[in-house]
């Protein structure tokens, strides 16, 4: 964006504005664009979800407002805006007011590091991935504020559940990403995407693989397991079924949102759906190559880029469109999976949720990190790191061996941990009456 604005102002018009003004203008433009896109995503996702889940239940879904019900979210928004804004008398007014803002702001900030297409990233932070998750953890503060300020038991319970869940599931999410970070050795999201060129085998791992933009991490055992864990954790962070416990309407009416109405309620919804979108997008970016796909790399090679300053801008446009298309297609596909899960699963209980996160997912991700280390050792390390036996292997053989070993490790770990987890769950509810016989007898009598 800086390049475009710079080219437009200083080259085309020849105004020679200083660099920081250009930067300010371009950043403002990008921010405005993102702020326009984010609510649109939310509106579209609500419609998309309702239509998709209706189809799963043999219904049609919203189909009255606009063609095929497309304007339904607009109508809902209008309804939200025109509703009365009720603040409970016992509420902590300022905190109650600030909470939705604190929830929405970080989700918006997360857009800052999300690459949309080749060369289309608002900020290429070298700690982008970390930034993404650091910022996402802030919204927990907002949820807690909402729960505390509402002075409602259900809201408090919901907020506690929500925060506990978000904090707990951040760990497996980050740990699973850590495995991928180990594979590439970078935290920059742009570089993560660029490492996923290739055809089922990343061209970073095996040089000479044709680049069709399909060297996604999902095709490695480490990436597959990391993706599964990350997606489950994303479900929990985005409060989606089967982890939508903070707003389990059958238990604690609407959780932390119970005492909110009107547009404040709408803001919570906005934050939630934008967060879901972002989580799907980041899953697509990290494990499915983001904008990578057949053709994008080829197009971008011929476009104007820092590496290739005298390319053709038409290819810029084409690569951008194709990249955004790939990214959005993957994102919406993941969101469809979220909706699909919502249609197919009941929700877990809150203690089962915690157990699942701490006793199953985190050990699994730890094993996965070990796998990632094996992978890196087999593929990258040489005699200088002390690995000598792979010296004479061809790259494809090294890749194959690494694939087989990590696959075996992961499958064995999955099955073993699942067994252990199931056994511990079964054991948990049991009380050994004989052991406590004397104590219990005293209390019963």
């Amino acid at each position: 964006m800086y390049d475009i604005v710079n080219g437009l102002i200083n080259t085309t018009f020849g105004w020679n504005w200083p660099g920081w003004v250009i930067a300010l203008i371009s950043h403002l433009l990008v921010t405005t664009l993102l702020f326009a896109i984010a609510p649109f995503q939310m509106l579209f996702l609500t419609y998309y979800e309702r239509r998709a889940i209706a189809r799963m239940q043999d219904r049609i879904g919203p189909n009255r407002v606009g063609p095929a019900g497309l304007l339904q979210p607009i109508a809902d928004g209008v309804k939200m805006f025109t509703k009365e804004d009720i603040v409970p008398a016992a509420a902590d007014r300022w905190v109650h007011f600030l909470a939705p803002c604190v929830v929405v702001a970080p989700t918006m900030l997360m857009f800052a590091v999300l690459p949309w297409g080749p060369g289309m990233v608002p900020v290429d932070l070298n700690v982008g991935l970390l930034f993404f998750f650091a910022i996402s953890s802030i919204s927990a503060v907002g949820l807690l504020m909402a729960g505390l300020a509402s002075s409602n038991k259900f809201a408090l319970l919901g907020a506690m559940r929500a925060v506990a869940q978000m904090v707990s599931y951040e760990i497996p999410a980050v740990l699973s990403l850590l495995a991928v970070v180990m594979l590439t050795g970078t935290l920059s999201i742009v570089q993560l995407i660029e490492a996923q060129a290739g055809l089922f085998i990343s061209s970073a791992d095996v040089p000479g693989v044709p680049d069709l933009g399909l060297g996604w991490f999902i095709f490695t055992p480490v990436g597959l397991l990391a993706f599964i864990v990350f997606f489950i954790a994303a479900l929990a962070e985005g409060e989606r079924t089967p982890f939508d416990i903070p707003e389990a309407d059958s238990e604690i009416v609407a959780g932390y949102m119970t005492e909110y109405s009107g547009m404040k309620f709408g803001l919570f919804y906005l934050a939630q759906y934008v967060l879901n979108f972002l989580l799907c997008a980041i899953a697509a970016v990290i494990f499915f190559g983001g904008w990578q796909g057949p053709g994008v790399g080829w197009l971008y090679d011929r476009a104007i880029s820092p590496a290739n300053p005298d390319g053709n801008w038409v290819f810029n446009l084409l690569a951008g469109f194709l990249g955004v298309f790939y990214l959005l297609a993957k994102t919406y596909a993941f969101f469809f999976v979220m909706v699909w899960l919502r249609g197919a699963f009941p929700r877990l209980r809150v203690d089962q949720l915690m157990d699942f996160g701490w006793k199953f997912l985190i050990p699994l991700t730890l094993v996965n990190i070990v796998s990632a280390a094996i992978w890196v050792a087999l593929l990258r390390w040489g005699p200088e790191q002390g690995i000598t036996f792979t010296q004479n292997w061809t790259p494809i053989l090294r890749w194959g061996v690494a694939f087989a070993v990590t696959l075996a490790v992961n499958i064995v770990a999955y099955i073993a941990l699942a067994r252990i987890f199931a056994a511990s769950q079964a054991e948990q509810g049991r009380i050994d009456l004989d052991e406590y016989r004397d104590t219990l007898t005293a209390t019963l009598r």
């Binding site: 650091a134 953890s137 503060v141 009380i431 004989d434």
Partner: protein, 222 residues
Amino acid sequence: MATVIQIIFGLIAALIVGAAVMVVTVRNVIHAALWLIACFFGVGALYLLLEAEFLAVVQVLVYVGAISILILFAIMLTRQVTGEGVRQLVGGWRLWLTAAISALLFAVAIVPTVISHSWNVPAPPAPPGTPEPLAGVAELGRAFVYEFLLQFQVAGVLLTVALIGAIVIAFEERARRRRVLTLAEEHELRKRLAHPPPVEAPAGEPAPAPRATPISEGEVQQ
């Protein structure tokens, strides 16, 4: 550019100081915690201003995302949440003592830094080729495993020990907690109290308890 940064720095500093003042003056503990979060945020922004992105992000991740949540949880779990509670601070000379000790500790940390630092404003331009000071992720990581290995390991062990200790305390706590028997467990217990089971009763299988009267026994046994 420098002026802009100066202005931004001034704003952030004002935010930090203002928030810190609010933390110690505001009467509602929850509000105090929220002001503290604002303070953390300002510090993170300050790091960002220093182009220490990693530190800034870690500040947000650790302090805002974790520590403040911990504080809020602690407040929520230990006091009457809904009421505007009176702050439970020590008063009188104890208060002053506490303040003095805190100030002293802070001075111990800050004074050497202040004294030892060469306050060149602006900083001299670094000669090209020198690596960035501990700001980059890679440098930080390398420093942890080479220069500060011992400290890093000690801190890691300490944290692990603390974690294990917390688990132990929680387990003790859980075991100590009042447990409510479910209907089935209570029934089972009463059965066993009335009729001690044979020594080798298979676990999970209710012990065959003889019942007092013929009818109930037969009808449910089928």
